[in-house]
Symmetry: C2
């Protein structure tokens, strides 16, 4: 091979085209693979991950050694210990335990002319996943794609490259144990950022892109991609405490929605309190938040309720803090709460706390978000909590899939039409 | 208003932004409108169309007078007579008679922690539809969007502008009769092609674009659009006549699939004949095709069967003729047929004719197309024939919707989660 050939073969588009061709061939095998074979691969991969704990920890140490410049939170996201590695294996086993979405008949009817039509689920094909430093995404995304009969091309963050490679080896061992092609799950071969661009323009070779990470990653993907994107922009989630809210339940839900974990997209960012119960409910809820170490930015009435409350600006209502900060506003009842959420929210996840069924019904109907909860924490916005056996992300789009994206959402369908010689008049 | 202001207000982006803002407000009303109110609007629009037959014919005459340069087929697509106008009204009434997809609970389950999750259908929002000369699309698309609670921004072909405006007036009368906002269905105010570009880049203002027309229109939309597109590229549809095909059924289906209408996307373009029955089945089928005025381009074996068969080139297997031309190939059984279809087809609609159930099952499973038929004509690839009450198009994408696009496919969903105070541990 001369230098010219070598350069041409290394062009990012060429690299992605080769990966995608192998992925397409694998996808055709996966599309026809029986459920038991896919589940065997998932369970064998989980077992290999458990057996490889020491090697994965060692690979992860190489990543951590190079990641000294990351924040403590960033290093924590990157870190794998035996417990977390066990969690990754359990995640794959949970996916193996789910029903197979492929081949499921989800509609069937007969036409007056006798044609029997059924709609059955099929895989999408080749899915490109672009993510950041969490190495567990390698297994979660690879596993969900495999379950749904899709081939995955994975491009993880540079910080986690050794960890992801170690996990990829285990996934490949699982595929091999089940007699499935290794190209079903492929990490891109280098961290060259041009490969990301090549993935985003691989029309016809990759069927859909799933970005998973922070806002800057998602925005780059949305701007540059020429392929369909299943993505999640931001989660400006609200809790509305209604006049008919039971105070202790409201306190518990607000505290959990805001502070259980502040960096997740389902964390509450804004608290709306019904003016009709502000005099009784606002102060104790603020007490809980301050006791939990939360900064509070409020409107005039909230500031009047507690001197520690800082003034909220218009921008606060539009901000996803992903931190121990909350904006608080007193509103004139459920209709005003819905209006605030529709004006400032991101259509992700919003909750009402109330004992009034009619008011709850009004809120559930009126809030146009992927997930609308009554008397429960917004932190349930999670594929695992929905019973999807993990998630590849949460979609804030209304097209194809909305909310948590599990294996069943990585599918399309086809119509099977059975006749007896019918022709169209 | 000075000249500067006037120019700014007429900028294509501004025009579309104003239409889209009105559409968004209307969409919020439509999303909450009861089924009976939407159906009342559809029926009132249908009645107005019938009552306005003379006015619509007159508007159509203006279009036809300007369309002398169109082909005969083009003029026929454009022409409206009382019978076709009656058909448009019937189409709206058929849509009114469908179940309302909005608010339908399509999944429901309870989690171990007691959270009750249900998934209900909601509208997409604002849909932009870009189409060519068929004026009936104005009513079909507007009606399907209305049924599914979406606002529609319509940009029809320049040839049909007067006809479309006459139909729009009837739709507005129907909306008014039901107390629904007229901005639910809006034609763009001029035929300036820059308005198409402005629609395709109206991120956040229009939620999805549906192009409906020929390949050059679809390709322009796919290249230029920064919005999600529900589109249809081409229909290279196949009929495979298996060794176990009943000859009379095969003749009837091939003739209908190819020649009933040659310009529709579900028309067959390629006939595959099992080598095991070529000696008995090929010649009579070719006779029928020639008798129907069809040109046949075939492989060597097909040429040997009839001297009128011209040679097929590699390009023929990839060509959507949309005309009275068919390519014919003899293949070595169902597996070879599947391989041909997967290699050359467009994943639109393909049919097998066979009396062997196992072979049919193999074909239905192995062909990855939106519609796969057994013993029926490919010309059933149509939303009306599927019982969707018409269609806004046929999607060849696997994302969001595949195959005929009816009212129920112009929806998304949201999850309603009902708890009793649950927080996430």
């Amino acid at each position: 091979m001369n230098e010219h050939t070598s350069r041409r073969n290394d062009a990012p588009e060429r690299v992605i085209a080769q990966l995608a061709a192998a992925a397409r061939a694998a996808a055709q095998v996966l599309a026809r693979a029986e459920s038991a074979r896919k589940d065997k691969a998932l369970r064998a991969a989980a077992a290999t991950i458990r057996d490889s704990t020491a090697a994965i920890v060692e690979a992860n140490r190489l990543d951590l050694d190079r990641a000294k410049s990351l924040t403590a939170a960033g290093q924590d996201r990157l870190r794998l210990d035996p417990k977390r590695i066990g969690g990754i294996a359990e995640g794959l086993e949970a996916i193996a335990g789910l029903p197979d979405p492929i081949g499921r008949e989800d509609q069937a009817w007969t036409r007056p002319n006798g044609l029997a039509i059924s709609r059955v689920r099929v895989p999408l094909g080749v899915i490109g996943i672009i993510y950041e430093s969490r190495p567990n995404v390698t297994a979660d995304a690879g596993g969900l794609c495999l379950k749904s009969g899709n081939a995955a091309i994975l491009r993880g963050g540079s910080e986690s490259v050794e960890s992801s490679r170690a996990i990829e080896r285990c996934l490949h061992a699982g595929l091999a144990a089940a007699g499935l092609p290794q190209a079903a799950i492929q990490l891109v071969p280098s961290q060259d950022r041009a490969l990301v661009g090549a993935m985003l323009t691989a029309q016809g070779a990759i069927d859909v892109i799933v970005p998973r990470g922070g806002r800057s990653l998602i925005e780059r993907v949305l701007v540059e991609s020429r392929l369909p994107v299943i993505g999640h922009l931001e989660g400006i989630c609200h809790v509305y405490v209604d006049r008919a809210a039971e105070l202790e339940m409201a306190r518990r839900i607000v505290l959990n929605a805001k502070l259980r974990r502040t960096g997740v997209c389902g964390a509450a960012e804004t608290l709306l309190v019904d003016a009709a119960c502000a005099s009784t409910h606002l102060r104790p809820i603020l007490e809980d938040l301050f006791a939990g170490g939360c900064e509070v930015r409020g409107d005039a009435q909230t500031q009047a309720a507690d001197p520690r409350v800082r003034p909220a600006t218009e921008q606060d209502w539009r901000t996803e803090y992903l931190d121990a900060i909350i904006s608080v506003r007193v509103v004139g009842g459920v209709e005003a709460a819905i209006e605030h959420i529709e004006t400032y929210g991101s259509h992700h996840t919003d909750a009402i706390v109330t004992d009034d069924g009619a008011t709850a019904g009004r809120f559930l109907a009126g809030v146009d978000s992927a997930i609308v909860l009554h008397n429960a924490s917004t932190q349930f916005a999670d594929g695992g909590e929905f019973g999807f056996g993990g998630e590849i992300g949460i979609s804030t789009s209304k097209l194809h899939v909305r909310g948590p994206v599990g294996a069943e959402h990585l599918t399309s369908y086809k119509y099977l039409v059975r006749g007896t010689g019918q022709i169209r008049p």
